[in-house]
Amino acid sequence: MALPSVATAVPPALLVLAAAAVAALTDRRTAHAAGFLATAAVLGWVLLVPSGAHLATEFLGFEVVFFNVDAMGRLMGFIFALIGTAAVLYAAYTGARRTTVAFALAYVGTSLGAVFAGDWLTLVFFWELMALTSTLLVWEDGGKAVRAGFRYALLHGIGGSLLMAAVLLHYVEVGSFLFGEASGIAAGLPAALAAIAIGVNVGFVGLHAWLPDTYPRPHVAASVFLCVYTTKTGVYAMARAFPEGNLWVAYMGGGMAIYGVVFALLQDDMRRLLSYHIQSQVGYMVAGVGIGTALATAGGLAHVFNHILYKGLLFMVVGVVIYRTGKERLSELGGLWRVMPITAGAFAVAALSISGFPGFNGFVSKGMVTAAAHKEHLATLEYLLLAAGVGTFLSFMKLGYYAFLQGEVSHRVPDANRGQQVALLAVAALCVVYGLYPDPLFAMLPGEGASEAHPFTLGHIAEGLALATIALVVFVVIKTPLKKVPHVPDVDAIYNPVALYGTRALVHGTTDTYAAVDRVAVTLASTASAIAREPRTVIERWLVRLGRRAPDAEEPLTLRAGIGTSVALVVAFLTLVLVALSL
């Protein structure tokens, strides 16, 4: 079935943005319905649009390609639309307000615009809008989310500025914004800046603290949207910027994988645990992009696809728990499998997927990235990724144990409602299907990497099972000591105070210095004018201060100079003038 030509000339982002506008103006039900229909329509569009459809135009005086359908864009668009549909359905049944879904749809729309961009200007354009719309989505819940949203906006503003700098440096060197005109970002300073800028979005170690700071705070439905789009658009941008890979980026990916997992293990708040896991899993994706071979890039992008499915599912599961129990912390929960079997089942599927247990989708894509690292003889990176795999199993054993298995549930808690169940089970089913039969996914991956992937070899399956077993043993051993570990601060415990107190010092320093300078200037001006107007009074005051005259002296001060003194003064003045003129 061919699409009518108007459909190939209009970016899919606009459809979702139109739905956002509808959502803002109508009631709750229509808002959710419009969102669901729009994302489903985009899903259909992504599947049917012919490859190479694009819209080349001029914007702000530069040549741009407002959207372009190639393999990478189609993959990203597909998964974005798919999870968007599930998330809107979930939001409708989880008490999301219409403003929540309006902002969420705007966020989804701008993300679609970003992944279908055909040039850097369009990408930066949508990148900044994504930061703006996601900030609004965070703020919308009010309360503690507001200040966290402000910190988020500032950090993403810095990231966006760095990306702008990188893109404009690239333009000055290459002369064009189009992706086709150069392979990735120009090497050197532009590439370094781009890596850091995209690193803010994907959560490079040190630039990641906004993830656990922001994602746990707003409404549970908002968290489902938030966990998907910003970080994965970052991975996409990294793949566009470094099509040949970059070893620093690859090792940073490995570092992210370990760092995220270690911190996740220490968390009590469920959504914070999941947020650190986003960093860890994105580390696999970034490692894949960084290694740069066909297999690695394909593995990274496959991991994007699979991660979106199971991470969305995890946030939905945790969201149902919070929605039903009102509690966000593991220490306050327990024994939920008895009263919420469907939610617990969905959790089990998601946990096995994220950990990479054979038979679930995470196993396939993690295996591809790890195998690529092995093939390129990047031993350290490979071990980092394997260790992170153990850690992932560990943290989900912790989450599952404390939330679902251990303990008694305090009172009867209802399970997920009908709509939530549909969303949960649909996504869980996809995790299983893509885990057992990944060929449809492989068909969508760009490049030739998918043909080198052999996930179901005995060696890989054994590896997966071995990691699971090690993790189980370790969990039993460290379970009790882990409870006693106190709160470990993250890097934002350093940079938040430095930023606030530093800015305060700078602002106060500047304003106080200026106030002092202004006082001096005003004093000088008024003294000068006083001397001109009434010299006698001024000199009287000075003499009193110097002690040469009594304060209450009777006779008035006389300022008269005799002829001799006058002549001397005039001659001195003329000499000065002559000297100045001769210089």
Partner: protein
């Protein structure tokens, strides 16, 4: 550029000058009086708009009004740069007049006749500045602008207003003296080298290029210092925050659009049409000017972080953004010039929206301090939405005019090899987020009972829920840059919280809401389609018209 003899530039100037006695005569018929203002505004805009197509096609309209003294002609010329400024100022006068009607009547202000008459006279002088064809005509109209705006600055007739007016006059007339000195030097230097002239020539006056470099440098410094007072270059800027005591439409149009823009416009004339980019590069004067501008951009943003009074915060934001324009001009690169000249209308639309919003808040709720504005998004949703849009544009967010000019400015800075200027521009964008976002988020997402302290730099990390602000008198009037701020408006939410006004305009009169939405729409239009709104085309025409410049 073909020159056409035409009286259109003079007509544009005289339309509002003729309106002044009419307004004064109609003091007892307020509606007719306002009608005269609107008619003059529409007429002026029409005359200027009629010149735009010709200017885009490469013509210039010249009106020579004779010789003042030997070799000095009093001439008005509508060339692309002049038309850019005139088109902007006259167009925005229409919306500002509508807004003024709503504002002055909403507050029941005194001396409205004097206000509208002075406004018309100011716009006359602004047109004169825009169309002046040589430095002397520019100087005369520049000083007339100061005179015409003085009654507007001191409108309130309080001690604070009079002090602000005195400071304003002292600074601007002082600047005028320096500018006159520079003009005389240019005249003398060109006379020594060839025919004495101060006429604006795209690419620079040829004879000035052959003059003594020391004289040329001194002349440049004098001219820039003189015009830099109105362009609010630091340290000559401190008249601007104090002038915020004027009624808000005055602050908006004159101090965010006409008066300060005439300062940067005059600097643009000096850089592009008196000295020319090539000569300035040879004299090595670009870098010092760029450094001063960069310092102003960053320092003003830092000071803005501490201001609690909304209009003072906007004033420091203006000081910062004006130096974006001066920075772009000083970089002498084509892309930077395009960015700088595009920022003239871009900033005008955005800043005017912000000032209009501040004025509407003042009229409706008598609230001037940001710390009392928590939750005001309930009471004035449309106003704060326009504020949010304009603030996003100031930070350089896409879809808004600020993004386009920032894009070009950064390209120009990078092409000029000034990575540090690019970094400074981007840092300023982040600082804009830091001092505008708190106003937006507290309006919509916080309530009077639950908000963190503003300015944000005064509070603890992560914010803290507020105690009732009514008791916190000490928090008012934060000492800024040496000036003390007195408020006799103790606004803020009523005891039961802000009343909910819907999104259909129940929050205020349409005399004010209409202009707010119009300028916000203009800012968005400039951000999405800058060529269609003509401004980018005029700017490209200006820069392409400079000899030796390849875009």
């Amino acid at each position: 550029m073909t020159e056409i003899d035409s009286l259109l530039p003079v007509a544009a100037i005289l339309v509002s000058a003729v309106a002044v006695p009419l307004v004064l005569a109609l003091r007892h018929r307020p509606t007719l009086r306002e009608g005269v203002t609107m008619a003059a505004a529409l007429g002026k805009f029409g005359i200027v708009a009629s010149m735009v197509p010709g200017v885009l096609a490469g013509d210039a309209y010249v009106a020579d009004l004779g010789t003042i003294a030997t070799g000095i002609r009093f001439t008005f010329e509508a060339d692309p740069l002049g038309v850019l400024f005139a088109f902007l100022a006259s167009g925005l006068w229409i919306v500002t007049s509508l807004y003024s009607i709503g504002y002055m009547r909403g507050l029941g202000e005194h001396a409205q006749t004097r206000y509208f008459a002075a406004f018309a006279a100011s716009l006359s002088a602004t047109m004169g500045v825009a169309f002046a064809a040589n430095l002397l005509t520019l100087f005369v109209c520049y000083e007339l602008l100061t005179v015409a705006t003085y009654p507007l600055v001191t409108h309130d007739e309080t001690d604070e207003a009079r002090a602000a007016g005195r400071k304003y006059l002292a600074y601007t007339f002082g600047g005028g003296v320096l500018a006159l000195g520079g003009t005389v030097l240019v005249f003398w230097a060109t006379g020594a080298a060839g025919a004495a002239t101060t006429a604006f020539t795209p690419g620079g006056i040829a004879d000035l290029a052959t003059a003594d470099p020391l004289v040329a440098r001194v002349a440049f410094v004098l001219l820039i210092a003189g015009f830099g007072v109105k362009a609010a270059l630091m340290p000559l800027h401190s008249w601007l925050p104090d002038a915020m005591v004027a009624p808000t439409p005055v602050s908006g149009l004159l101090h965010a659009v006409a008066v300060v823009k005439s300062g940067v416009f005059a600097i643009a004339r000096v850089v592009l049409d008196v000295f020319g980019p090539d000569q300035l590069a040879d004299l090595g004067l670009g870098l010092p000017l760029a450094a001063v501008a960069m310092a102003t951009v960053l320092l003003a943003s830092v000071i803005a972080l501490r201001q609690d009074n909304l209009k003072r915060r906007l004033a420091y934001s203006t000081i910062s953004q004006l130096s974006y324009i001066v920075l772009g001009l000083a970089l002498l690169q084509p892309a930077a010039l395009v960015g700088a000249l595009l920022h003239v209308p871009a900033h005008a639309f955005m800043k005017l929206t912000l000032f209009f919003c501040a004025g509407a808040i003042h009229v409706e709720t008598h609230t001037d301090d940001i710390s009392r504005m928590a939750g005001i998004g309930r009471r004035m949703p449309l106003t704060m939405a326009a504020f949010a849009l304009a603030a996003a544009g100031m930070a350089g967010m896409p879809l808004l005019a600020g993004f386009v000019s920032k894009w070009y400015l950064v390209i120009g800075a990078l092409e000029a090899g000034g990575g540090i200027f690019a970094a400074g521009l981007l840092l300023s964008g982040v600082l804009n987020v830091a001092y505008f976002w708190p106003i937006v988020y507290q309006a919509y997402f916080e309530t009077p009972d639950e908000h963190d302290p503003k300015p944000v730099v005064e509070g603890p990390i992560g914010g803290a829920p507020a105690r009732a602000t009514a008791t916190d008198e000490a928090a008012e009037g934060t000492v800024a840059d040496g000036g003390s701020v007195e408020h006799d408006h103790h606004g803020g939410p009523p005891p039961e919280g802000w009343r909910r006004a819907g999104w259909r305009g129940g929050e205020s009169t349409w005399f004010m809401l209409g202009p707010i939405l119009a300028t916000a729409t203009g800012a968005v239009a400039l951000g999405i389609a800058p060529e269609t709104v003509a401004f980018l085309r005029i700017v490209v025409e200006i820069v392409a018209g400079l000899p030796g410049v390849v875009l």
